[in-house]
C-alpha cells in the first residue's frame, strides 16, 4: 500500500496534479500555516492554503456575500466568517451535548444551529478569533469536527429508523466504528485547536491516506430498509442493512454514488450507486477502507471535477473496479442480497420502538434551528433523558422517551409550535434545501431562504387540485453540487443564477432513481407554469399509491433514456 506519495507516481497515473493536490502535499499533514494565520490580527481571513487545509478540520471559510460590495466601499475586507461542521456518525447527540452546541452557537457563532443533510450540525457565523474557543468548547463535550469536510471520509450516515431499536443501536455502532477507523491519523487538529505539543516523528503520519489524502470527498451511508432516509445511492459507499429474523446479517454494498455536476460540462453528472455485493458486519471497516484505497490510487488528481469515485469507477469500468477490489481483499464479494425500500423521507410524529421507548420526529424547515425551534429544543433538551437524532432530511428525532415522559415533551412541543408537521402538506414534509446565499461560496441562487416562499406557492397549487397531502419530494440546491441531494428528488430546483433554476423531475420516492432536467435556467413563474398542469393531471389520473415521479414516466411527460 502506498505510503508517501511522490509526484512522479501521481503524474503517471492521472496527469499534472491540481493545485489542491500541491497544497495538500505542502500542508505538512493538514497543519498548513493555520497556527500563525489564526493569530494574525489584521485580517479575519486565513491564507489561501489554509482555506483548503481548514476544511479537513471541519471548517469552511465564507463571507457574507450580501455585504461584500458595501464593505469594499467602507474600506473593510469582506465579512469573513467560518462554520464548523461536527463529525457525528449517525447524527446522535445526548441532551447535554445538544445544550452545549446551542451554547457554542450563542457564544461564538450567529446563535443558530443548522441541521445538515449529512446528519450533523453546522454552527455558522463564527469569526476567526472565536474559532479556537469554539473548537475547544466542542471537545469539552466530546464532539470533534475532524474530517467533517475535505478529501477524506466524511461524516458517516446511519439510518434513524426508530422502530428498530436494536438494529439502530447495532448499525449506529457500525457507523461510529467505520468513522473512527477511517479518520485521518495526523495530530494536526489536536495541535492547532487543542494546543497539543508537536512531537517530531519519523513515523508515517497517515498510513492509509498518505500526504495527499483522497482525490476528493468520500461518503459512506448505512441504510436500513424499508426506509432509505440516508439516500444510500447518493454515497460513494452505500451499505444496505440486511435484517433476517430481526438480526443484522450484513450489508448489501453499493458503490459510486454522487450528486454533483457542473453545468455545461457533459463529463460531469450525478450518479446513483451500483450494487456490487454483500459483506458481513465484521468486514465493514476493512472493505470500506479497501474501496477507498482504490479511489485513493486510481482517482483523478489532475481535475477535481473528475475526482469523485463515481468517475473513477466509470473510467475504470465497473468490472475492472470489482476485480481490483477482489484482488485487494483476496477474495470475491458474496452476491448482493435483495432489499426493498418504501421511501426516503422521515416519518413524523410519535412511534414506539421495539424496546417500548418512544420517538418523536419533528419537521424542521430547511434544518434551521432558529427562533422558536431553537428555544423549544433547548427547553426539551433541558428535561429529555434519552437522545436526539439528526436525520439526513434535516429533521430531528427526540428519541428514547419513556412512555411516562411523553406528555412533558408534548407540552413543550406544543408550547413552542414545533408540531407543525401535523398539519404540514405532503410536499413540505418531504422538502429539503441547502444553505446557499448569503454565505456559501458556491451558491448561484437562493436556496434555504427561498424554500418557504416556494413551498407556499406549490402548496397553493396542490391545494387547488385537492392533493395537499400527497407526499412528494422537493429539494432545492443553490448550485449543482448537490448538498441537498437534489438529483434524487421527484421535483428539484438547482440554482443557475439569482432567480433562475434548472427544474429537474422524475426521481423516485425511495431515492433509487435520478431525476432528469426538464427546464433549464427557468424563472419561478416558468417553473410553476410547468408544474401546475402536471400536478392537476396527477391529481386526476394517478393510480393508487402511485408517486409523482413514477406518474411522470407512466404518462410520458418523461421518458426513460
Amino acid at each position: 500500500m502506498p505510503q508517501e506519495w511522490n509526484w512522479k507516481d501521481i503524474v503517471e497515473m492521472t496527469g499534472k496534479p491540481s493545485s489542491v493536490e500541491v497544497l495538500k502535499k505542502d500542508s505538512d499533514y493538514l497543519r498548513g500555516t493555520l497556527a500563525e494565520c489564526l493569530q494574525d490580527p489584521v485580517t479575519g481571513s486565513i491564507s489561501h492554503m489554509d482555506t483548503r487545509v481548514i476544511k479537513f478540520h471541519g471548517c469552511y471559510e465564507q463571507d457574507d456575500r450580501d455585504l461584500r460590495e458595501e464593505r469594499r466601499k467602507q474600506k473593510l475586507e469582506p465579512a469573513f466568517q467560518y462554520f464548523i461542521r461536527t463529525r457525528l456518525p449517525g447524527g446522535v447527540v445526548t441532551p447535554s451535548q445538544w445544550l452545549a452546541l446551542d451554547e457554542i452557537a450563542q457564544k461564538f457563532g450567529r446563535g443558530t444551529l443548522k441541521l445538515t443533510t449529512r446528519q450533523t450540525f453546522q454552527i455558522h457565523g463564527i469569526v476567526k478569533r472565536k474559532l479556537k474557543p469554539a473548537m475547544q468548547a466542542m471537545n469539552a463535550v466530546m464532539i470533534d469536527s475532524i474530517a467533517a469536510c475535505g478529501d477524506v471520509n466524511r461524516n458517516v450516515l446511519c439510518a434513524t429508523n426508530p422502530h428498530l431499536s436494536e438494529v439502530h443501536r447495532t448499525v449506529w455502532q457500525q457507523a461510529l466504528d467505520v468513522s473512527a477507523y477511517m479518520k485521518p491519523k495526523t495530530r494536526a487538529y489536536y495541535e492547532v485547536w487543542l494546543d497539543e505539543k508537536k512531537v517530531s516523528t519519523t513515523e508515517n503520519q497517515e498510513p492509509f491516506y498518505g500526504d495527499t489524502y483522497l482525490p476528493r470527498k468520500f461518503k459512506i451511508a448505512i441504510s436500513v430498509p424499508p426506509v432509505n432516509d440516508v439516500d444510500a445511492f447518493a454515497n460513494d459507499i452505500g451499505l444496505i442493512a440486511i435484517i433476517e429474523n430481526g438480526k443484522l446479517e450484513g450489508y448489501t454494498v453499493a458503490v459510486g454514488g454522487g450528486m454533483g455536476k457542473t453545468y455545461g460540462d457533459a463529463k460531469t453528472y450525478p450518479r446513483a450507486a451500483t450494487v456490487i455485493g454483500f459483506i458481513r458486519p465484521d468486514e465493514v471497516n476493512h472493505v470500506c477502507e479497501t474501496i477507498a484505497g482504490i479511489q485513493r490510487d486510481f482517482g483523478d488528481r489532475s481535475e477535481r471535477s473528475q475526482a469523485r469515485m463515481k468517475y473513477t469507477i466509470d473510467h475504470m469500468g465497473l468490472d475492472r473496479f470489482k476485480e481490483e477490489l477482489n484482488s485487494r481483499l483476496g477474495h470475491a464479494l458474496e452476491a448482493p442480497r435483495a432489499f426493498k425500500f418504501d421511501h426516503n423521507g422521515d416519518r413524523y410524529g410519535w412511534v414506539e420502538g421495539e424496546d417500548g421507548l418512544w420517538h418523536l420526529t419533528l419537521y424542521i424547515e430547511a434544518g434551521r434551528v432558529v427562533d422558536d425551534v431553537l428555544l423549544g429544543l433547548r427547553e426539551i433538551a433541558g428535561v429529555h433523558k434519552g437522545e436526539f437524532r439528526v436525520t439526513t432530511n434535516q429533521n430531528v428525532i427526540i428519541a428514547r422517551v419513556a412512555p411516562e415522559d411523553r406528555a412533558q415533551i408534548d407540552a413543550l412541543v406544543a408550547k413552542h409550535g414545533l408540531d407543525g408537521y401535523r398539519g404540514a402538506s405532503g410536499i413540505r414534509k418531504n422538502s429539503m434545501a441547502c444553505v446557499a446565499l448569503p454565505t456559501c461560496g458556491l451558491a448561484m441562487a437562493e436556496s434555504e431562504r427561498y424554500l418557504p416562499d416556494l413551498l407556499l406557492k406549490l402548496e397553493a397549487i396542490l391545494d387547488r387540485n385537492g392533493i395537499l397531502d400527497a407526499p412528494i419530494t422537493l429539494r432545492i440546491s443553490g448550485c449543482p453540487n448537490g448538498c441537498s441531494r437534489p438529483f434524487l428528488a421527484e421535483i428539484a430546483l438547482t440554482g443557475r443564477a439569482i432567480g433562475r433554476y434548472s427544474l429537474n423531475l422524475g426521481g423516485n420516492f425511495t431515492g433509487e432513481r435520478l431525476n432528469t432536467v426538464y427546464l433549464e435556467n427557468a424563472t419561478e413563474p416558468e417553473i410553476l407554469a410547468a408544474l401546475e398542469p402536471m400536478i392537476a393531471n396527477y391529481a386526476k389520473n394517478r393510480l393508487e399509491d402511485e408517486k409523482f415521479g413514477d406518474f411522470l414516466y407512466r404518462t410520458g411527460v418523461l421518458s426513460a433514456a
Binding site: 490580527p41 489584521v42 479575519g44 467602507q74 474600506k75 473593510l76 475586507e77
Partner: protein, 612 residues
C-alpha cells in the same frame, strides 16, 4: 468731552490738539481723523520698505535702545493665538514700536530675564494644559530656575473654551506667575472664549495704547523702528482663512464603520480645486457647520417662537432660525451661560443639579454637567425666563471645528480627506447630535462645505525621511497617520512605519482596514499592532500594546524613531505613561531616565501629539 490721552501725547500736544478741535464741526473732524490715519499708514509703509542692508544697519544703530523692544510671545495649538499675535505684531510695528514676534517653541527661556516688555498670547488645551509648543516655557516659568523679573512689564491674552472647567487656565497661571516673579502687569489679562474677538479686540486696543506709552520715552511718540522681526503670514493662509473660508465641494461621504455597530464614522473627500490651498500631513481642516435642524426646531419650539421672525443683534439682522442654525453655539455651553441661565430659572423649578455644578470649586461636577448638557437640555430640565432675543444675546457665536486631515496632498492632490466620528447619543430622554459631526455625517455627496486649512507645525513627519515613525492613533485618531503613511510612501521615505490602532470591535470599526492591509503587504507599513477593546473579556487598549511591545519600541526609539499620538487627551496620558514605563524598564535606567528622555524627545519634536 476732553481729549484725555495721558499716555500718548505730552501736555503741550494735548493742549494744542484741544485748541484745534474745539472749533471743528463733525465733517472736519471726520476728515482730520482720516488724514491722520493716512499719515500713520504712510509711516508704516516706510518701515516695511526698508532694504535688508539698511535694516541690518538700523539694527546696529538701534542696539542701544534694544531694551525697549516689545516681545510678543505666542503659544498656539490650533493657530488662533498665532494669528492674533501676528496681527498684534504688525499693528504694534505700525504704531512705531520695536517688536519681535516669537513662537514660544522657539523662545530661548534664558532670554526672559533680559526682557523689558512682554506680551503673551496663549491658549489652553482641553483640561487646562498648555499647547505642546509652550510646555517647556511653561515648566521653566513655574520651575525653580525661573528668574526674578523685577524689570519686566507684561500683559497676557489668554485663549480658551469656557465649556471646559479650567477656562483659560494656562494664561491665568502665566499671568499670576509673572506677577509672582516680580514683573509688572501693564494691563489686566484678557480671557477669550471661542468668540475670540469679543474680548481680544477691546483688550488689544487698550493694551496697544498702554504699550506705546510704556515703550516710549516720556513726552515723545516712539519713532518707527526698523528692526521689527515679523514672521510673514503663511502664503496659503492669506487666500482663505477662518473668517473667509473656501467653499469646498463634497466629492464623497462614505460611512466606514460596518453595519452592526452604533459608531458612525465617515470618510469625507472634499475638493480643493481652484482654491490654491495647500496642506501638510499633520495639518487640520477648519470646518464651518450649521446646527442640526431638529435641534433648532426643538429650541424654537421650547421658546414658543416662530423661526421666521427677524432679530437684529450687533448690527446684523437674521431670522431666529438663522440665528440658531448658523450663528450661535447650541451644543457647547459655558459656565458663564449656566450662571446666566440659573438667574433666570422659573420660580419653583428644582435647580439643585445646576447649582451643584456651579458651586465654588466644583470642577469635576461642572465638567460633568457641561459634558452632558446642551442648550436644549438646560431649557427643558430647568425652564427659565428667556426670550429668543435675550437668548441670542447671551449665547456664544458659532465657531468652526477642527479635524485632523487624513490625506496627504502629494497623493490626494486637489482633495482633502477627513475622518469624522458622528457624535450621537441619548440623554435626558432625547436624541442628541454633535453639531458639527452630525452636520458632516449628513452632508450629501454634492454639497458644499466652508473650510480653511489650520496649520499644525508641531505635528510633522521627521525632516529626515530615514527616521522611523511610530504612530499611535486609536479611533479617528488614526486620521493624520493615514496622511503620514501616504506621504511616506509617495516620497519613498526609507524609515520604517509602525502603527498602533484601536477600536471597540475588529469586525465593524477597523478604520481603513484594507488600506493598512495593502500597505503591510507591500511592506510600506512595517508593523501594525491592534487593540480591539471589546472583542474579548478583558479590555485591551493601545496603551497596553505599548507596554507589551516595550522592548521593540525602545529599540526603535533608540534608533531615532519619532513617536506620534493622536486622539483623546485621556488616551494620550495613558500612552505617555505606558511609554515612560517601557523606556524605564527596557533601558534599565529607571523612571528618571525615562522622564529626561521624554523631555528631550518632546523638545526635539520626537514626541508629538495631536489631542482633543
Amino acid at each position: 468731552m476732553t481729549t484725555k490721552s495721558p499716555f500718548l501725547l505730552s501736555e503741550q500736544q494735548t493742549s494744542l490738539l484741544e485748541t484745534l478741535i474745539s472749533e471743528m464741526e463733525q465733517p472736519s473732524l471726520l476728515w482730520t481723523s482720516g488724514y491722520l490715519a493716512g499719515l500713520a499708514m504712510a509711516q508704516r509703509r516706510v518701515s516695511l520698505a526698508v532694504k535688508p542692508q539698511e535694516a541690518a544697519a538700523a539694527t546696529v544703530a538701534a542696539a542701544p535702545v534694544a531694551k525697549s523692544t516689545l516681545t510678543i510671545l505666542y503659544g498656539s495649538q490650533t493657530g488662533n493665538a498665532k494669528r492674533l499675535a501676528q496681527r498684534f505684531a504688525a499693528e504694534s510695528e505700525a504704531a512705531g514700536l520695536s517688536v519681535q514676534l516669537v513662537d514660544v517653541a522657539d523662545y530661548a527661556v534664558r532670554k526672559l530675564k533680559s526682557e523689558t516688555h512682554l506680551f503673551v498670547v496663549i491658549s489652553t488645551q482641553g483640561d487646562g494644559e498648555p499647547p505642546d509648543s509652550a510646555r517647556e516655557f511653561f515648566e521653566f516659568l513655574h520651575g525653580k530656575k525661573a528668574p526674578k523679573l523685577d524689570t519686566l512689564q507684561y500683559a497676557v491674552l489668554a485663549l480658551g473654551d469656557s465649556s471646559y472647567p479650567d477656562f483659560c487656565g494656562v494664561g491665568r497661571k502665566i499671568d499670576e506667575r509673572l506677577a509672582a516673579l516680580g514683573a509688572k502687569r501693564i494691563h489686566n489679562r484678557g480671557d477669550c472664549d471661542l468668540d475670540i474677538e469679543t474680548v481680544a479686540e477691546p483688550w488689544w486696543v487698550d493694551t496697544l495704547n498702554l504699550a506705546r506709552t510704556a515703550l516710549a520715552p516720556a513726552g515723545s511718540v516712539a519713532a518707527p523702528q526698523q528692526n521689527a522681526n515679523v514672521i510673514p503670514l503663511h502664503p496659503s493662509a492669506s487666500a482663505w482663512n477662518r473668517d473667509k473660508p473656501f467653499s469646498a465641494q463634497v466629492l464623497e461621504n462614505q460611512r466606514i464603520t460596518a453595519r452592526g455597530t452604533d459608531k458612525h464614522i465617515f470618510h469625507l473627500e472634499l475638493s480643493l480645486e481652484g482654491s490654491g490651498l495647500h496642506y501638510q500631513p499633520g495639518d487640520s481642516l477648519g470646518v464651518w457647520h450649521f446646527n442640526p435642524p431638529s435641534l433648532v426646531d426643538n429650541v424654537l419650539a421650547t421658546l414658543g417662537v416662530s423661526g421666521d421672525q427677524t432679530f437684529t443683534h450687533k448690527g446684523e439682522t437674521f431670522t431666529l432660525r438663522q440665528w440658531f442654525s448658523e450663528k450661535l453655539e447650541l451644543t457647547r455651553l459655558t459656565r458663564a451661560f449656566l450662571v446666566e441661565h440659573s438667574s433666570r430659572v422659573n420660580a419653583g423649578v428644582d435647580q439643585a443639579d445646576l447649582q451643584a455644578a456651579l458651586a465654588e470649586g466644583a470642577r469635576d461636577a461642572l465638567a460633568a454637567f457641561l459634558g452632558t448638557h446642551q442648550l436644549i437640555d438646560l431649557l427643558k430640565r430647568f425652564p427659565a425666563n428667556w426670550t429668543a432675543e435675550t437668548l441670542i444675546t447671551s449665547l456664544r457665536p458659532l465657531t468652526p471645528r477642527l479635524y485632523s486631515i487624513s490625506s496627504s496632498q502629494t497623493v490626494a492632490e486637489d482633495e482633502v480627506h477627513l475622518t469624522v466620528a458622528k457624535v450621537a447619543y441619548d440623554a435626558h430622554g432625547e436624541a442628541h447630535l454633535g453639531a458639527a459631526s452630525g452636520f458632516l455625517a449628513e452632508l450629501p455627496a454634492d454639497g458644499q462645505l466652508p473650510i480653511y486649512i489650520e496649520e499644525n507645525r508641531h505635528f510633522r513627519l521627521p525632516k529626515n525621511a530615514d527616521r522611523d515613525v511610530i504612530m499611535v492613533g486609536p479611533g479617528t485618531g488614526v486620521a493624520p497617520f493615514r496622511a503620514f503613511l501616504q506621504e511616506r510612501i509617495e516620497s519613498g521615505a526609507a524609515g520604517r512605519n509602525w502603527l498602533f490602532f484601536g477600536a471597540q470591535h475588529f469586525d465593524t470599526q477597523f478604520l481603513y482596514q484594507t488600506e493598512w492591509q495593502d500597505a503591510l503587504k507591500k511592506k510600506h507599513l512595517n508593523r501594525i499592532d491592534l487593540a480591539f477593546s471589546r472583542d474579548q473579556q478583558e479590555k485591551i487598549y493601545v496603551q497596553h500594546l505599548i507596554e507589551k511591545q516595550g522592548a521593540e519600541l525602545y529599540a526603535w526609539l533608540q534608533n531615532g524613531a519619532h513617536f506620534y499620538v493622536c486622539g483623546s487627551t485621556d488616551m494620550e496620558k495613558d500612552v505617555k505613561a505606558a511609554l515612560l514605563k517601557a523606556i524605564a524598564q527596557h533601558s534599565g535606567k529607571g523612571d528618571e531616565f525615562a522622564n529626561a528622555w521624554f523631555a528631550e524627545a518632546q523638545k526635539e519634536g520626537r514626541y508629538s501629539r495631536d489631542v482633543y
